[in-house]
Amino acid sequence: MKTPIYMDYAAATPVDERVIEQMVDCLRSGYGNPASTAHQFGRDAGEMVDTARAQVAKLINAAPEEIIFTSGATEADNLALIGAARFRSQAGRHIVTSVAEHPAVLESCRYLETEGFSATYLTPDANGIIEPAAVQSALQSGTVLVSIMHVNNEIGVVQDIAAIGRICRDADILFHVDAAQSAGRLSIDVRSQSIDLLSLSGQKIYGPKGVGALFMNRQRVRRIEPLFHGGGQERGLRPGTVATHQVAGMGLACEIARARRVDDAQQIEELRKRLWRGLKKLPGVLLNGHPKQRVCHILSVSVTGVEGESLHYGLCELAVSAGSACATETDEPSLVLRSLGRSDQLARSTVRFSLGRQTSEAEIDFAIAQFSDVIARLRALAPVSEVQLA
């Protein structure tokens, strides 16, 4: 087995070979500017963009004209929050979100606060769930936007976005969903789930980095304020020449994701369950997040009696994530893990495994063995060997 083993699919996925071919082909033959409709080169490139737009739209049951291409989910989040909040600022200046959101959402809210908006940051329950009733209670007369992610990137819990969507729709408040981690893993239907704005990322679905998309519900979101200025591309909402090869790659990645979603999710969920069956036998290994309401590919565990940096350093054969910044003592542990009731120390001793299409059973078994060895070794080195079970 080749090591280190890649188990960081929630950070970035390997690019599908067909996507690579599509992108290379596009770079070779689709070099015209997709906005140059006066000649065939431009029209060819424009067609590639149109195809990609339709492919992205189909993954979430949207119409192609509801898709705005961006540089990634971070830009899509910024555009959705800042663009929609500014445009609706006459109606009100209050936003509802949660502390467990991606920094792209949290920092956009913080930024809006400097512009006179206020934000309510909901705290998830001990399982990482944002209760729809909590969203309902947080709504005010001036609330213009609610932003709740579909799947939490650190712990993998799935939020009931359909229920939250209904609440927002009933109150006529825009609902934004960061779906970077759920696309291609869970069914997304922007119609039945009452979603008004939704962010997607190419690199999380076996597509390229540097491309994402924002869905804008045409019936509900007439206009948002662009962040960039200087061109009419993407209906003037995201000016700048569309990166044809990037969006073509993302489009095909979405098409493949749609075709493979059910099989992928089933296969990867089996692997995640196998991993947890192995890890939960070890003393002091705690699952983060709801035991059932979770996405197929993410498993986050905290380990008692083991220092976080050494845990990660010891797991050098596994390409995993911390799930929280823990390199130095001054770094704040993850808000998500702390909201689950994990101590700072436990939050630092957290490992996020995220699995994907290329993960094998043998790799899972190797990961369990490695994990077991490292925590046993570190606990044996520690002054007090008894394991405190939280």
């Binding site: 009696g305 220092e307 976080g308 940096e309 050494s310 350093y313 010891g314 390199a327 130095t328 003592e329 001054t330 101590s343 700072d344 120390q345 630092r348 570190l378 044996a380 080195l381 520690a382 002054p383 007090v384």
Partner: protein, 125 residues
Amino acid sequence: MHYSRIVADYFARPLNAGTLPGNANSVSSGAAGDRALGTEVVFQMRVRDREIAEMSFQAFGCPHTIAACSLATERLTGQPVDALVELTAESLAETLEAPVEKMGRMLLIEDALRNCFIAWDNTQA
């Protein structure tokens, strides 16, 4: 985070890890740190004729902490007991090529070594 080759080696194969058999008269211990704050170290040593005959450590901490504890026990074994208070955090950091943000942990090891000396000194009264 930068981990030098020497840190990697000590982390993979720490020397003198564990405890020494004996009682407080034959084995002196010195501790420092707080596990809840991320680092806790304990040194133990057996002294014969004012010379450190044996030394061990236990550590809950980062790779640099584990490496520094291991390095300290290796350096000090066979040395006069006064060497415990002469070994500095700076010299551990320098050998391990530890980044500056690890200095606090090196100082904590220095404290634990001094506490070990004090514990031994108390048995000499």
